[in-house]
């Protein structure tokens, strides 16, 4: 692969805290190698800012391997930037050209308040899981794992849904800030598996109720979530969630 260096202009959202007003600030960065990751480019900029006695830009990140789901930012209007099925930490600078201007903003959604600069609060996702995104089983004496055979196709589908990293890009991409892809992924995973069966009905109700409470918008099936999701979580999971909801409503006479 050929490497090249570039000079870039960055327009970055700065906001001191959740109450403060935010605004864009402009920075120039020089000699950025096409081999660097987007976050390494930020590291370079931040070190430069510290040296100049300025406040570095706050952003969330941890694994830098595309799996923890922590890194979160809009890059040129797209969550996680221009590459398909990718996280910000795995975006590499060869996605850009010398002289480019790059606009960087935090996730924007009512349910994800800004904490500082590019960092938002995604606690709502944890609370949705708390509402039922689990199998109720205590640690102790479950049966032997191979006593629950699962058809490979189902297991693979469950795995594909379980691959969601909880990053929130789907919410950020959606014009209604709907969290349905995230919720659909978890509901699907557990609905596909025999282990999820006993709580199948209550789970879908409880998770959706919590989702509404957190202030996420309604799904109008525009598909922006699927197009943006770094893990390729399929919108079929939303269809399955809807199916689960109807199934539960029809089968359950104690609908709330």
């Amino acid at each position: 692969m050929e490497h090249y260096n570039m000079n870039l202009t960055l327009k970055v959202w700065r906001q001191a805290n959740s109450e403060a007003q935010g605004n864009f600030e402009i920075f120039s960065v020089a000699n950025i190698s096409s081999e660097m990751s987007f976050l390494e480019m930020f590291d370079v900029l931040n070190e430069q800012l510290v040296e100049e006695g300025k406040e570095p830009i706050a952003f969330d990140h941890d694994c830098r391997e595309g799996i923890c789901g922590m890194c979160s930012m809009y890059i040129n209007g797209k969550p996680h930037g221009p590459w398909q099925q990718n996280t910000t930490c795995q975006l590499h600078m060869r996605a850009f050209k010398d002289g480019d201007t790059i606009v960087v903003e935090p996730w924007r959604a009512k349910a994800f308040p800004v904490i500082k600069d590019l960092i938002v609060d995604r606690g709502a996702f944890d609370r949705i899981i708390e509402a039922g995104g689990y199998v109720s089983i205590n640690t102790g004496n479950p049966q032997d794992a191979n006593n629950i055979p699962i058809e490979k196709k189902k297991a693979d589908e469950a795995f594909a849904a379980a691959a969601c990293i909880g990053c929130g890009a789907c919410v950020a991409a959606c014009k209604n800030s709907s969290a349905l892809l995230f919720v659909g992924a978890k509901v699907s995973q557990l609905a596909l598996l025999p282990q999820g069966e006993p709580e199948r009905k209550s789970r879908v109700f409880d998770m959706l109720t919590q989702m509404d409470k957190e202030g996420f918008g309604a799904c109008t099936s525009t598909g922006a979530c699927e197009a943006t999701c770094p893990k390729g979580i399929s919108i079929a999971n939303i269809a399955r969630l809807n199916h689960e909801y109807i199934r539960a409503a029809v089968l359950d006479d104690t609908v709330h």
């Binding site: 706050a58 708390e130 199998v135 055979p149 469950a158």
Partner: protein, 667 residues
């Protein structure tokens, strides 16, 4: 031999395979109505912490769990790729609890504790049952049963996996169990909180001081016991496969308060990482060891060969692992594979622009799988292209996300050209010293998972860290902690106005203001990089007495410079990532000095610790069991006038009752 054990490791009496059963049968229990009155602090929500917090919550204890990320689901465990071992013998290939135990002890180069490792092997099967019951989607065969693969250092297939995302799926399982307890009100989570100090009252751990990373507020938290599940310290090398936030702060603060630090020099270097590409690289990315199941490792036979990998003909390739270690081939343990790669590169056979990498090649596996698939689909006389296509599909299904990751980072297509790999710092076998109950030398302070030292010896076999984290959290600590807490029901909670809380809080505040007041000229990262370079050069893949002695002095000097030069913008009353990093880097610097001291003391080679002075004529690690059959447990004794940290060595003698240590041979 038989030097008296000055550390009481509380290994139960009796035959090895009955120790744990006997322990569980006789340990003290806490009555359910009393559990509600007992508060437990769990620091860290990775596999070890999340499983411990969830299980203790289920049992009825009042649990507070802390992590520095925005959610427990982001702990470093999420990144684990390859798999988790268990002695299920589902493949009927001769596996058993004893064999898993034996492989782990041997893999650890006879520097792990027999009783702990045996217990780990015993509970391994329950871990898989537990995770499957939670809905963890492990890989399955067409018949609907669980699938297994192999990892380095073993000759059976005992590794359970979920594509290249095993850690993610296991952690999400433990996380969902944890969130269920949050909903039930037994666990409270404090995210974006960093533990800064342990509070010790009358010799017992009674709480922690934590910093709210969003507001900067310093908080006091009481607990009848404190569990550190804070992971490993590989980031002391700056570049490693660890998550960026991984650090030693919690363990180091505990060490400074009296917890012994064990085997700090035992670092695992993983053989298959994407090589370093540039100056500003912030981390190294692992390519799971499971790739060595199918990928073959080679370098050109000719020095400084500049041809592309695909252009080098078969008979000009040196499959050096298969050549040197015919019995295990590409599946030799990590330390052996790493050193062999370094040896080839040092000798001038490395590939890539930096010449610091070797090939990991899937071409042959693609053809082999392709033929099998054609057979399965009844395709007779398939063309090479058809075979290739079917083979690619199989490899994609098995390792797809790893290949994608490689392509994103390097810009090369690993389906078409061999990957380039090089060893990198990956895991730390050292950690806080714990006894059989996972208790440190501070009463009431426990260490679980990668944070302790106990189960891996001088090296860790693949797929055993996940196993240990979950074993400690789901199956060990619920018993051993109960044994301690049974006596604590007589003690009322201690109010956080206690003078020891005042004192600990003052220490934290003083340290933070000292950091902010240096107002120097050097960034935290640049100081960290300097430390990393010393560590990698002198305490990395090969070590000498001379280099280590130099390193100790250089690190002491670096520590001095840190306190004169570090530059931290912003204040402590806000979210301040530079301040967070600075606190962690100074702890790494202090730890680095101890790692070098420990490496200097251990004048033998074993596992990940290779002292150049101690090797066999053909370059293999040479142990000295007569002198070093011990766990080094270091006690912090204060700062010395000469600028070095005071550390006193205690020895926890290793006694092998069942296994006879022999030369580790993978030939």
């Amino acid at each position: 031999m038989a030097e008296k054990n000055i550390l009481d490791n509380k290994i139960p009496e009796g035959p090895l395979d009955q120790k744990w059963t006997n322990y569980k049968g006789h340990c003290k229990l806490v009555n359910p109505s009393n559990k509600r009155k007992l508060e437990v602090i769990v620091v860290g929500t990775g596999l070890a912490g999340a499983s411990a917090a969830a299980t203790l919550g289920e049992l009825g204890y009042k649990v507070k769990a802390f992590c520095y990320q925005d959610s427990p689901r982001r702990a470093h465990s999420i990144a684990a790729q390859g798999g988790i071992n268990a002695a299920k013998n589902y493949q009927n290939d001769g596996d058993s609890v004893f064999r898993l135990f034996y492989d782990t002890i041997k893999g650890g180069d006879y520097r792990a504790r027999e009783a702990n490792v045996h217990r780990l092997s015993e509970v391994s099967g329950n871990i898989i049952d537990q995770c499957v019951a939670q809905g963890v989607p492990f890989a399955r065969e067409y018949g609907g049963l669980l699938s297994n693969r192999s990892f380095g250092g073993v000759q059976v297939q005992r590794t359970f996996y979920a594509a290249g995302q095993t850690g993610q799926q296991l952690l999400l399982g433990a996380y969902s169990a944890l969130e269920r307890q949050v909903a039930l009100g037994t666990v409270t989570i404090y995210n974006r909180h960093e533990m800064e100090e342990v509070v010790v009252i009358d010799g017992k751990a009674r709480g922690i001081i934590a910093r709210n990373l969003v507001t900067g507020e310093i908080e006091r938290h009481f607990g009848h016991a404190v569990l550190l599940c804070t992971g490993g310290y590989g980031n002391v090398f700056f570049l490693s496969t660890n998550a960026m936030g991984s650090n030693v702060t919690a363990a180091w603060k505990a060490h400074r308060k009296g917890a012994y630090f064990a085997n700090p020099c035992f670092t695992q270097i993983h053989p298959t990482c994407i090589p370093v590409s540039g100056e500003n690289q912030s981390k190294l990315t692992l390519m799971s060891e499971s790739l060595r199941n199918d990928g073959r490792i080679w370098v050109p036979k000719q020095k400084n060969d500049t041809r592309k990998g695909n252009d080098i003909p078969e008979d000009e390739r040196d499959y050096y692992l298969e050549r040197r270690y015919p019995a295990f081939g590409n599946l030799v343990p990590r330390d052996v594979a790493s050193r062999a790669a370094k040896e080839r590169c040092d000798a001038g056979y490395g590939v890539g622009t930096s010449k610091q990498s070797v090939y990991l090649d899937f071409a042959e596996a693609i053809v082999r799988y392709g033929k099998i698939e054609c057979g399965k689909h009844g395709i007779t006389d398939p063309s090479a292209a058809v075979i290739q296509q079917h083979g690619l599909d199989v490899v994609k299904e098995k390792y797809g996300n790893l290949f994608d990751m490689y392509a994103k980072i390097t810009g090369e297509d690993p389906y078409l050209t061999p990957m380039r790999i090089f060893p990198a710092v990956h895991y730390t076998m050292g950690g806080l010293w714990v006894d059989y109950e996972l208790k440190t030398t501070i009463d009431g302070l426990y260490a679980l998972g990668e944070c302790n030292f106990s189960d891996h010896g001088a090296n860790r076999l693949g797929a055993s860290a996940l196993m240990q984290g979950l074993s400690d959290g789901y199956f060990v600590i619920p018993y051993t902690l109960g044994n301690y807490l049974a006596d604590e029901i007589y003690n009322q909670p201690i109010p956080t106005t206690h003078p020891e809380f005042d004192k600990a809080e003052k220490e934290v505040k003083d340290r933070i203001s000292k950091l902010l007041n240096v107002k120097g000229t050097e960034t935290v990262d640049s100081l960290h990089r300097r430390l990393g370079k010393i560590m990698w050069d002198k305490c990395g893949m090969a070590r000498t007495a001379e280099g280590l002695t130099e390193a100790i002095n250089e690190i002491a000097q670096l520590r001095k410079e840190f306190w004169e030069k570090v530059k931290i913008p912003g204040s402590d009353k806000e979210l301040n990532p530079e301040l967070e990093k600075a606190g962690r880097v100074i702890d790494f610097i202090e730890l680095g000095e101890l790692m070098c001291k420990d490496a200097l003391d251990r004048a033998e080679s074993c596992g990940g610790h290779f002292r150049e002075e101690s090797q066999t004529p053909d370059g293999e690690a040479l142990r000295h069991d007569d002198q070093f059959m011990y766990v080094s447990a270091w006690e912090f004794t204060g700062e010395n006038p000469n600028g070095l940290l005071g550390e006193e060595l205690h020895k926890d003698q290793l006694v092998y009752e069942v296994i006879k240590p022999t030369t580790r041979n993978y030939k």
